[in-house]
């Protein structure tokens, strides 16, 4: 092998995990090649709307210079029924820059520009087809055009990590282990967005949405404000879409037409329609995170906290840990799994694995009772508020008695018991 086709570290995929890994290696003074299949970094990326400042700051202390759309100061939860909704909004005027919205095509590109300034070599337009394995060690990559070697390969190739599957670090996910997200970006004037969402000073809003057209499915909606567009999307369990024969774009169309949503996006002109898979993090069997000469990061390792819609921050930290581990491995000239297990230790000691452990049963439990938790109860919340906020000459007590009776009558005791047990398991699962 010639010296020109060998480097210290190859990182596959220039998303948040990949760029964080690559820049960490470059900062440690080692040679790193960052391979991206897209024309530019960010061109294949889709997300749920929020990048967390704590993670951005960790990798890019100057992240506020990046092309950010809006810092988020309105975090809302919307429970939909067929014709009504209840929204809880959290706003904090003191800490308004804990998270921000960015267009991935601009944000990821900016991140890679920073990485290049710090010595990362970017290879765009390059799809990696195979990992080169010699004597049980990953020693390089094979693209459409050539073979390229490195002491360590870091996989950051996203939810469809064909490479991690290829070398047996994980098996192909089952339909229950992935959520399919589809999203539309609707262009609206900035002033209209700010008026409709009650925003000032260029701040932004993000919404998490349950119920309504999504009721009974393991599915959630999301909506967030860019500078001059509003993004609206759904994420639904692929297993539910498959077994109930539902087209994802029809579900999104139904959500857009809900009477509580439609006025917010009225006259928005569609400028982009995207789709992406989201791994259900923390579900067994967990992917193996490393082997001889290789580590897996971000979505490729299913490092996603679905309860809090967190992914980019887990990705960035996992990339950083993989980069740090690579530096130590190079220092010791040991690229074996024995050495690289340091990466897993770093993840275990951080919020990444601690949070995934905390929530490991939540998805399983809720997905078993979706009709209740993402359908029946949101509807009951709306029924309660309909009574509470209406005046119609009928005494309130009788309405509340009827509501309470209904609550129990429309639910068999077995169902209520099962929900209560699930609720208790959820609370104890999280707190234990």
């Amino acid at each position: 092998m010639s010296e020109s086709s060998k480097t210290d570290v190859i990182v596959v995929g220039a998303g948040p995990a990949g760029v964080s890994a690559a820049i960490t290696v470059a900062r440690g003074g080692k040679k790193v090649v960052l391979v991206e299949r897209g024309n530019f970094s960010g061109s294949k990326n889709v997300y749920g709307g929020v990048i967390y400042s704590h993670a951005a700051q960790e990798i890019f202390p100057n992240f506020k210079e990046a092309p950010i759309e809006r810092f988020v100061n309105n975090k809302s939860f919307m429970l939909l029924s067929e014709y009504d909704s209840t929204t809880i909004s959290y706003k904090n005027s003191l800490t308004e820059d804990g998270s921000f919205i960015a267009l991935r095509a601009k944000w990821d590109k900016w991140c890679v520009e920073q990485a290049k300034k710090e010595g990362v070599y970017l290879a765009p337009d390059t799809t990696v087809r195979n990992l080169i394995v010699e004597n049980g060690d990953v020693v390089g990559i094979e693209t459409d055009l050539e073979k390229f070697y490195a002491d360590i390969v870091i996989l950051a190739d996203g939810a469809n990590s064909l490479l991690a599957e290829q070398i047996g670090l994980k098996s192909k996910p089952k339909t229950k282990q992935v959520v399919l997200g589809v999203k539309e970006v609707l262009k609206l004037p900035s002033a209209v967005i700010e008026q409709r969402f009650g925003l000032i000073d260029g701040k932004g809003a993000e919404f998490k949405i349950a119920g309504g057209p999504l009721a009974g499915l393991f599915a959630m909606g999301l909506m967030f404000t860019n500078k001059e567009s509003v993004a609206i999307g759904i994420g639904a369990s692929l297993d539910d879409l498959k077994s109930k024969k539902i087209a994802p774009y029809e579900l999104l169309e139904d959500l857009k037409h809900h009477p509580s949503i439609a006025p917010l996006i009225k006259d928005g002109e569609l400028i982009e329609y995207s789709a992406h898979l989201i791994p259900e993090g923390g579900i067994e069997p967990l992917p193996k995170l490393y082997a001889n000469g290789v580590m897996v990061t971000g979505d490729a390792a299913a490092l996603v906290n679905n309860v809090h819609f967190e992914g980019t921050n887990l990705a960035m930290f996992s990339g950083k840990f993989a980069g740090e581990t690579a530096l130590e491995a190079i220092e010791k000239n040991d690229f074996s799994a024995n050495m690289l297990c340091l990466y897993e230790k770093k993840l275990q000691n951080s919020f990444v694995m601690k949070d995934l452990r905390t929530y490991k049963d939540v998805v399983k439990l809720v997905s078993g009772r979706t009709e209740s938790f993402l359908g029946y109860y949101p509807q009951k919340v709306n029924e309660f508020f309909e009574i509470f906020t209406s005046a119609n000459g009928i005494e309130k007590k009788s309405l509340f008695v009827k509501f309470t009776k209904n609550f129990f009558c429309k639910r068999s005791l077995a169902e209520l018991f099962s929900d209560a047990i699930t609720g208790i398991k959820l609370i104890f699962g999280v707190l234990k």
């Binding site: 299949r37 889709v46 192909k172 997200g181 692929l238 982009e272 995207s274």
Partner: protein, 90 residues
């Protein structure tokens, strides 16, 4: 043009000369559910009843990989480097 195609028309695609999606025609003949024709967010797959063949409009693929997970007989790979969908606002 269907409503979905009108949406897809707004996206930028750098079309490759060859398809990166390869269903197994033999298996399609026996398949009753044809789940790929339902769950694909771009409706890349359509079953042509008269020709008894799955048509694959790979040029509008959003590269999500849902079909890869939902059907074990579709050979799925990424398009060649630099090709396929180019997201600018997502």
């Amino acid at each position: 043009m269907s409503d979905l195609d009108k949406k897809l028309y707004k996206n930028t695609f750098k079309t490759s000369q060859t398809s990166h999606l390869h269903p197994d025609d033999e298996q399609c003949l026996q398949c009753l559910e044809k789940v790929c024709t339902i769950i694909c967010p771009a409706k890349v797959y359509n079953y042509n009843e008269s020709e008894k063949k799955l048509t694959v409009s790979y040029e509008k693929c959003l590269e999500c990989g849902a079909c890869r997970i939902a059907c074990k007989y579709i050979k799925w790979n990424y398009p060649e480097g630099g090709k396929g969908v180019v997201y600018k606002n997502s």
